[in-house]
């Protein structure tokens, strides 16, 4: 993927204060808290911009997220930056917000159809998941073998896209044989339980695709408990500190990392631009990288895993 350089020079003079609500798909995961830091970082760099951060507790709470968005529309915020839990269900929300004079930016996941006037700042989950399949095949080696998916929540769009992408990617590797998919319900201990059970049922399992943070950590602990740490190859998703330390310890072959910080950061900046300058910034693909033990200390990768405010950066990864 390629990330476009996007430097909107914003003049900050005598502008009235603006209030932007940032609504993730859910709260409580490292991924979304990086979005949060990005958003606050952007706000801190602009004068008179304040952001409110609020979200539902589970990505599948589509109705509750809709309620929350409607509440923000009613309070008359100036901008709304949000990640839609369901692309179709939210397709009227953006327009009704705009009708109420609110500028809208989509981050992470847009709506279908995506209104022309609403910029989308996101990664493509499907293609990133294909990347995961490729890397898992590489880690397992040419002999191939059984692989399993530890997904997180059936019926969540992100989940479905990642599973879909992985399965599509897998088609290129006939030696890899998918034995099952289990769900962690976004809970570390459940992930541990289901992975332990998968390992028991398939003693010759070669690889696991763990589709998000909690799935990854639970899967890693399960392989460790079964004394198969490092032998069963794991490709995880997201880069919370514990996941990264799994890579360092050699328990995780690789992590798909998106750039949530950038989504938050650019999302807020885009909203501010829309509000103050009536200018619509372009859509943006924030890209994804595969984090492995070998590229952990790579500067670019570091930007993905441990973003810091103050150094808005450019990344270019393959």
């Amino acid at each position: 993927g390629v990330v476009k350089d996007h430097k909107a020079k914003i003049t900050l003079q005598k502008t009235p204060p603006i209030h932007i609500a940032v609504v993730p798909k859910s709260v409580g995961l490292d991924y979304w808290s990086k979005v949060h830091s990005g958003a606050t970082c952007a706000a801190s760099q602009m004068r008179g911009v304040s952001v409110t951060w609020n979200g539902v507790t589970d990505e599948t709470d589509v109705v509750d997220q809709l309620n929350l968005l409607n509440n923000y529309i009613a309070t008359g915020v100036n901008g709304l930056v949000y990640a839609a839990t369901d692309a179709t269900a939210m397709n009227e929300t953006s327009t009704s917000a705009q009708k109420a004079g609110i500028k809208v930016v989509s981050i992470d996941s847009g709506t279908t159809p995506q209104p022309k006037s609403v910029p989308l700042i996101a990664t493509d989950n499907v293609s990133a998941a294909k990347l995961a399949a490729k890397d898992l095949a590489k880690a397992i080696g040419p002999a191939g073998g059984k692989v399993a998916i530890v997904a997180f929540h059936a019926g969540s769009q992100t989940n479905d896209q990642r599973v879909q992408g992985f399965e599509e990617g897998l088609k290129k590797y006939p030696k890899l044989h998918l034995v099952g998919i289990q769900y962690s319900q976004n809970d570390y201990n459940t992930a541990l339980t289901v992975t332990s059970n998968i390992l028991t049922a398939n003693p010759d399992l070669k690889g696991i695709f763990a589709a998000n943070e909690s799935s990854d950590i639970g899967a890693v602990e399960a392989t460790r408990l079964a004394h198969k740490g490092g032998k069963v190859k794991i490709i995880g998703w997201d880069t919370s500190p514990d996941e990264v330390s799994g890579v360092k310890e050699g328990l995780v072959a690789g992590l798909i990392s998106q750039d949530p910080f950038r989504m938050g950061y650019d999302g807020v900046r885009a909203a501010a631009a829309l509000i103050r300058h009536q200018r619509r910034p372009g859509n943006e693909n924030t890209g994804a990288v595969m984090v492995t033990k070998s590229n952990l200390n790579n500067r670019t990768v570091h930007q993905f895993t441990s973003p810091r405010c103050g150094s808005p950066r450019q990344v270019d990864v393959g």
């Binding site: 609020n54 979200g55 109705v63 409607n70 369901d86 019926g155």
Partner: protein, 368 residues
């Protein structure tokens, strides 16, 4: 003494005919119970300029509608000393089947909605049979159903949401009649219906009786099983209806919809004064309970309170509201006793007829 009482009663509601007075004090007592809600409401009106906007009130109404509708069915169940843990899953299953009927089988809107409701009713029948015929405790029967219905939702509907609904279906949840959004209308209609059921029909009377003393109800010749079945069917049907409203609001069938809804519904009942041990509860109370939770959530967003503080605040307000309600009741009881408690006993000994009494008097003193 009885002149004393008479005087007091007269002072409170002078010259009104008895039934009207009864009704009036009923309303007053209901309003007093809403104390917590009213306080929160007033506080929010001052705290946020947006709170009282018609737009926002409208939002609250729509947001509370699903929980309120499901909780009203739950109230019936709880009155019988039962519990329905499956409502959340049933809302999910009803929503999926109803939307699939429209999107996949090409049903028009109204039959599609009916399918959602009938699904709920069917699940209610199964719940009821498990409880009455296999004699499972309601908690077990409906807990099992919570898993079964959710599993079925995914098995039948697949992992993805159901899209491609007719545009008209949006109106079901988002339309308005005059200035009133449809969901609020549904709540009103259902509330009136269940109020009538509870106060005027055998079903309601027997629900109270079964929850109050099942053995006594049985001895009195009430066909308990039939009425228990009925309350679970109503609860299921209303959950299905709630699921259809949710589907209309997001214009899609979400297989995960309703997770945790049961807890909200039960909470609304209990905050509204229903007892999980049966025999106690009102529709008014349940509506107040549901509204209280919705208003707090809405207010927290308006006041820009983050999720976590919101959770803490909601918890504390629930505590305070229920506590306050209890203090009010206890004080009321004490006052009644002080003023007249002994009098009803007196009536026994001095042989005077007490044509209207404790109930009315107690309520009257509440208004004083």
């Amino acid at each position: 003494m009885s002149t004393n009482i008479g005087a007091l009663r007269g002072a409170v509601t002078p010259r009104l005919p008895e039934p009207v007075r009864d009704r009036l004090s009923d309303v007053v007592s209901q309003l007093a119970a809403a104390g917590g809600l009213i306080v929160v409401f007033i506080a929010l009106s001052f705290a946020s300029p947006y709170f009282l906007t018609s737009n926002n009130l409208f939002n609250i109404g729509v947001q509370v509608s699903i929980v309120a509708i499901v909780a009203m069915g739950q109230t019936l169940v709880i009155l019988t000393a039962g519990i329905d843990l499956s409502v959340g899953s049933v809302a999910g299953l009803g929503g999926i089947l109803g939307t699939m009927a429209m999107a996949k089988a090409g049903f028009p809107m109204v039959p599609g909605i009916c399918i959602g409701i009938l699904t709920g009713a069917a699940i209610g029948i199964v719940n009821g049979l498990l409880i009455t015929q296999m004699r499972l405790p309601p908690f077990i029967a409906t807990l099992g159903m919570l898993g079964v219905a959710r599993g079925l939702t995914f098995i039948v509907g697949g992992e993805n949401a159901v899209y491609g609904l007719p545009a008209s279906f949006r109106l079901f949840g988002e339309g308005q009649i005059g200035p009133i959004p449809m969901p609020i209308l549904y709540v009103i209609v259902i509330a009136v219906a269940i109020y009538l059921i509870l106060s005027r029909t055998r079903l309601g009377r027997y629900a109270y009786a079964i929850g109050s003393n099942e053995q006594a109800a049985r001895i009195s010749g009430i066909p308990i099983n039939r009425y228990k079945l009925a309350v679970y069917v109503i609860s299921g049907a209303l959950a299905g209806f709630g699921g259809m409203i949710a589907a209309s609001l997001v214009h899609s069938g979400q297989p995960n919809y309703g997770v945790g809804l049961e807890l909200n519904a039960i909470a609304a009942c209990v905050i509204g004064g229903a007892s999980l041990f049966g025999g106690v509860g009102t529709i008014g109370g349940t509506l107040i309970g549901a509204l209280l939770m919705a208003v707090i959530t809405n207010g927290a967003v308006l006041l820009n309170i983050t999720q976590y503080y919101q959770q803490v605040i909601i918890g504390v307000i629930i505590w305070v509201a229920v506590w306050w309600d209890q203090v009010r009741r206890r004080r009321l009881a004490a006052a009644t006793e002080q003023a007249h408690g002994r009098r009803s006993a007196d009536a026994d000994s001095d042989g005077e007829a007490q044509s209207n009494g404790g109930g009315g008097r107690r309520r009257a003193s509440a208004t004083a």
